[in-house]
Amino acid sequence: MKLVTVAGPPSSGKTSVIIKLAQCLDIPKKSIGVVKFDCLTSFDNISYEEAGISIKTGFSGKICPDHFFVSNIENALQWGIESDFEILITESAGLCNRCSPYIKGVLSICVIDNLSGINTPRKIGPMLKFADIVVVTKGDIVSQAEREVFAFNVKQVNTSAKIMFVNGITGQGVFLLGKYIQQTKDILSLKDSKLRFTMPSSVCSYCTGETRIGESYQMGMMKKMEF
């Protein structure tokens, strides 16, 4: 089974891209599965179900979504293998721009949209930097110049990434992405695989439910600004 991890800021078009991708792949719908890692709520399962794609949704709640991803990915893979999927796609929303739920040896796709502002690629960090493919959406509503500058800014942060422009509504551009995915190797187990980048470290008192403000309540990993 092939495994693909997709990450990107909220509302950048991850779900639309995955659904269009599934439609263009030359394999039956029932052999594609999606695992959606989200935080509190998600309505994407409806879109996937309508498209006839098997979907499992998990909510990280108060846990960092990336930590949630890594502690569940093996079981997700197992689910995919047992369900006889040909392709399993994980979708996770990057909330702090620090997330990069990418695994060495597993195809990693970052989805960002042209409307998010020209300098956004320069601010996203590891989620963009460690991706193999950067899919840029919503290019049909901005000028050619903005698209070009946006792509240039992606290249500044991730020089070796392949950039693909995809229209999540019409599916334009999704063909090449599908072609690329079909070339990737099958993944049978993730045991002892490694993440491409460390997860956000968050082991301070506030992680464990502290709500009071003040020096004496702050324990663990803290970082202070200089004023």
């Binding site: 990069s100 042209n114 409307l115 502002g117 020209i118 320069r122 960090g125 590891p126 930097k129 460690f130 840029v136 290019g139 049909d140 509503i141 901005v142 000028s143 050619q144 110049a145 903005e146 698209r147 070009e148 500058v149 792509a151 240039f152 800014n153 290249k155 500044q156 942060v157 020089t159 070796s160 392949k162 950039i163 693909m164 422009f165 019409t170 334009q172 551009g173 063909f175 090449l176 072609k179 690329y180 491409r196 980048f197 460390t198």
Partner: protein, 340 residues
């Protein structure tokens, strides 16, 4: 120059020298919050004074950063890629939605204008998709798209980075809050244009020639009218975009000299596809591709007769333009104005 050569440069030359030669390196460093590196010494030296924690936050150490910067500079200065010089594009027919063979082949050269006509949903986007991904008989249409007469390697298709086709449609807007000058400057910077100011000036003047109403360099791009926006986008694409192919999807009739606009693109050695039902535009092209049932139905060469008719169409178009200008300047519409 290869990444290794850049690496040597970064190790031996002061950052000041590097920045003078490659100003864009400043942006690269800013991405990692390194704008305050000492400029008198080589980057490799200067990095030693940086708190490793900052780099770690980006998943880097000093060596990675140097390597990334070298790679970045190599990619930017690389000019010789196969797609930089597109001398022709050939479309070899496949099948339409009814699986009937198209039986066509057409080769298009830079400077040519091809219009695409056919009802909505007839298959225009299928054709565009094929061109964009350089179909090799593997898309639903089974078409082959050749560049400079040859099939493209799989790996090259993945390296396109969306640069093959520049697009322009009615739905496009400027979303950045910049003035016209800042906008052009930003685009020039990303293209590393050596004579940026000259090209910005050219772009600006040309956009104003295309637009019905004049605008200044200090105008915010978001405040331009529809026609002015389109004029600026076209002029920018003609002078600054690196895409050899331009696709135009129905440009509005108002506020822009659309014939001049597409000839401008053709003159700048672009292969221009115009999807339009505007007779003035369609007949200004050399050939038109007729789309039907998801396939290329036929290709019509613009005939001498049609070209002659173009003159009359121009007259009709000019009348409409005059009417519009009269309305704009607060005058009344008289019967005189309607005379051909």
């Amino acid at each position: 120059m290869k990444a290794q050569d850049f690496m040597n440069k970064l190790n031996t030359q002061s950052l000041n020298l590097i920045l003078r030669e490659y100003p864009i390196a400043a942006d690269f460093l800013a991405n990692f919050r390194l704008e305050n590196l000492s400029k008198e010494i080589p980057v490799s030296e200067a990095l030693k004074d940086v708190n490793p924690e900052i780099l770690e936050e980006f998943g880097l150490d000093g060596y990675d950063l140097l390597q990334n910067l070298s790679l970045f500079l190599e990619n930017l200065t690389e000019t010789e890629t196969s797609l930089d010089r597109v001398t022709s594009i050939t479309i070899l027919g496949g099948v339409n939605k009814l699986k009937e063979p198209e039986n066509i082949s057409i080769t298009i050269y830079p400077g040519e204008i091809i219009s695409i006509v056919g009802p909505t949903g007839a298959g225009k986007s299928r054709l565009l998709n094929d061109i964009e991904c350089l179909a090799q008989g593997d898309t639903p249409t089974g078409r082959d798209i050749l560049i400079n007469g040859i099939h493209i390697e799989e790996e090259q298709r993945f390296q396109l980075d969306g640069k093959l086709v520049a697009e322009l449609s009615q739905n496009m807007n400027f979303v950045m809050d910049l003035t016209v000058h800042q906008f052009l400057e930003m685009h020039a910077k990303s293209r590393l244009t050596p004579n940026a100011n000259e090209i910005i000036e050219k772009c600006f003047l040309c956009a104003n020639q295309l637009a019905g109403e004049q605008f200044t360099k200090d105008t915010k791009v978001t405040q331009l009218s529809g026609g002015q926006s389109r004029a600026l986008m076209i002029s920018d694409t003609a002078y600054m975009s690196n895409s050899p192919i331009v696709l135009i999807d129905e440009i509005e009739n108002a506020g822009i000299d659309r014939r001049k606009a597409i000839t401008l693109l053709a003159k700048n050695e672009k292969i221009v596809f115009v999807s339009t039902h505007d007779p003035l535009l369609a007949l200004s092209s050399d050939k038109r591709i007729v789309i039907k049932n998801g396939g290329i139905h036929k290709i019509i060469q613009t005939s001498e007769e049609e070209k002659k008719n173009l003159k009359s169409i121009e007259k009709i178009d000019n009348i409409l333009l005059k009417l519009r200008n009269n309305l704009r300047s607060g005058e009344t519409i008289t019967e005189d104005l309607l005379k051909l």
